[in-house]
């Protein structure tokens, strides 16, 4: 028996173990309750190790992520930097697009408002040479571009076309040493020649040392070069240095301040007015006269028809002729000439009725700034008042000339220093004298002006 057990020991043990587990399984399956201590032992044996491993894994994972995987952080950092660079590039691109749009809009507005006929062009290339300031634009002879035409932007002149090809043109920029253009300053209207220097600044040459040019002053094209019409902006005077015989003036061109991409080629230039200096544009305030002042307002002064010296002279001569029953231009042989010695002497004239009828007339109250009986403030009113209308009854001008010639060789006393001598044929053709003195007085009613 013992030998039998020894011989089949292995299979016996196997069967015992299997049987034991079958019983265990049967009990567990039938009662739905297994032997709890086996599970407890197993879980107690396994879970601490699992906890340790989990702790090691968590710590290792944290170490890995916080230290080892910093390599990934660097990679991510580089990726973010690359993305940031890409975004910056995109931002620059969009800004350029926006600037291009704004420039195109400005160019269009300028093109619509400038009287010159222009054609828009885009710069497509630059010229060869380190010191050469030459660019190529995408407009050529097909678009009407010719050699010698000016190139401008809304901010100022840019250059001139030096060669025109069918589909493109070569433009010499104003900063090129070979460039020159006639310019004039804004305030003093000082003419000079703008020359490029190969640097961002240009110089204005041939300005005499006694001319007054100030830094900050705008420089415009003068139109003298027959390339740029008068009145286009050139730049701002930056430096003015005295020199012999010419000043040294440096100008910062304004046409290329905002980059140079789109330009206008002056196909047909029209001269424009150079804007006045800003200081000259300031309005002058004149306060109202104080209450109770003896001076009358301007509208209460002499009639507008007597606004000029010639009109006053004509009125005096007319009054003198009426007093002496003389009709100018109607002088039959043997007729008594007018006594011009009484001219300008109201007392001798005997207080003519004409003077009483028109108390404000300069014939009664001669314009004498030294007297207190001056007509009301001619210094204020006449300068503002509109030009006088022609007199209602102009004297008839004679064609004979003898009747109009004063008898007094010395001539009548001049009422004012600016009045023409009466002997200069006021009777012959007073309106002519009046026109010479005041071209804005208008033609006489008789229409006898030459």
């Amino acid at each position: 028996m013992e030998s039998l057990l020894n011989r089949y020991r292995n299979i016996t043990v196997l069967l015992l173990v299997i049987m034991a587990q079958l019983v265990l399984l049967a009990v567990s399956a039938k009662n739905d309750q297994d032997v709890r201590f086996i599970r407890i032992w197993t879980v107690t044996a396994v879970t601490p190790v699992a906890r340790i491993i989990e702790g090691m894994r968590g710590g290792g994972s944290g170490f890995f992520h916080n230290y080892i995987l910093l390599h990934d952080t660097n990679a991510e950092n580089r990726r973010l930097h690359a993305e940031l660079d890409r975004m910056k590039m995109e931002n620059v691109f969009l800004k350029n697009e926006l600037n291009t749009s704004e420039r195109a809009k400005a160019l269009q507005v300028f093109q619509q408002h400038t009287p010159s006929r222009t054609v828009a062009a885009t710069i497509i290339a630059t010229g060869a040479g380190s010191n050469s300031k030459v660019v190529f634009v995408d407009r050529g002879t097909v678009s009407g571009v010719q050699r010698g035409m000016g190139v401008v932007t809304p901010d100022g002149i840019v250059g001139k076309v030096t060669a025109a090809y069918p589909t493109a043109s070569q433009v010499l920029l104003i900063t090129d040493p070979d460039f020159a253009a006639g310019v004039v300053t804004e305030k003093g209207q000082v003419h000079g020649t703008l020359k490029g220097q190969g640097t961002p600044e240009c110089k204005v040459d041939y300005v005499a040392f006694e001319e007054k040019v100030e830094p900050g002053e705008w420089v415009y094209t003068s139109g003298d070069d027959r390339i740029f019409p008068r009145g286009f902006r050139v730049g701002i005077v930056k430096v003015v240095r005295p020199g012999q015989p010419f000043k040294e003036i440096l100008v910062e061109p304004s046409g290329m301040e905002r980059g140079l991409e789109d330009v206008l080629i002056l196909i047909e230039g029209v001269h424009q007015r150079i804007p006045d200096a800003p200081s000259g544009m300031q309005p002058i305030y004149i306060a109202s006269p104080p209450p109770g002042s003896e001076s009358k307002p301007a509208d209460a002064a002499a009639p507008a028809s007597l606004g000029t010296e010639a009109d006053r002279l004509r009125t005096q001569y007319q009054t003198l002729g009426e007093e002496q029953k003389h009709t100018y231009g109607d002088n039959p042989p043997g007729a008594k000439p007018v006594d011009f010695t009484r001219l300008g002497n109201p007392a001798a004239a005997g207080q003519s009725p004409a003077a009483g009828k028109n108390p404000a007339s300069p014939a009664v109250a001669p314009p004498n700034p030294g007297t207190g009986n001056n007509p009301p403030s001619p210094a204020i009113a006449p300068a503002i008042a509109p030009p006088a209308a022609p007199p209602a009854t102009p004297p008839k001008t004679g064609t004979g000339g003898a009747g109009g010639t004063p008898g007094n060789p010395s001539g009548p006393p001049s009422p004012t220093k600016s009045a023409p001598p009466p002997a200069a044929a006021p009777a012959k053709n007073p309106p002519d004298a009046a026109r010479r003195l005041n071209p804005s007085a208008g033609p006489s009613a008789g229409g006898q002006l030459r």
Binding site: R9, N10, I11, V13, L14, V17, I18, Q21, L22, L24, L25, A26, S28, A29, D34, V35, I38, R39, W41, T42, V43, A45, V46, V49, A50, I53, E54
Partner: protein, 177 residues
Amino acid sequence: MTYSGERILLSSQREGQVSRFRTWVFLVVPLLAILFQVYIPMFFPFLSFLEMPLLVVVYFAIMRRNQISGLTVGALVGLAQDSLSKNPLGMFGIVNTLVGYFAASVGVRLDVEHGLIRLLLGFFFYLFHQFLYWVMARALLGQQMAFDLPRTAVLAALNAVVGVALFHMLDKLKERT
């Protein structure tokens, strides 16, 4: 009988050298195998096909060349698996007990140091383990489980390959005689 120039069958049990391991190896390695099965798939689900406890049982059984040792290791590892599963105690225990016993029986006859033998043993015992478990589940627990033979065969091959590598590593733990 020769196979690739090497003998894979032993003429007698005396030719087979019994491998000896330290005691802690019998405790730690099965424990680590069980931990591997319950812990690693949490992070690497694709490794859930590995039956590390089964491979460990097969290894110890074939290397010890002792049926009782084999079935004992199989029974303990199987019960531990049962304890950590929802199944009633004894399912994996019985299966692994039988695996351990038969693996030890085969190990007496074969040169288990040979890689191909290890590969074949791993493949065969995986199939045996899965099939026996399926039979027991149907017979003892009345569970209607499907047995997908091709899939099981593929998994058996994968486990056999992993088993060869595992056995090679566990060989380092053998005592030098």
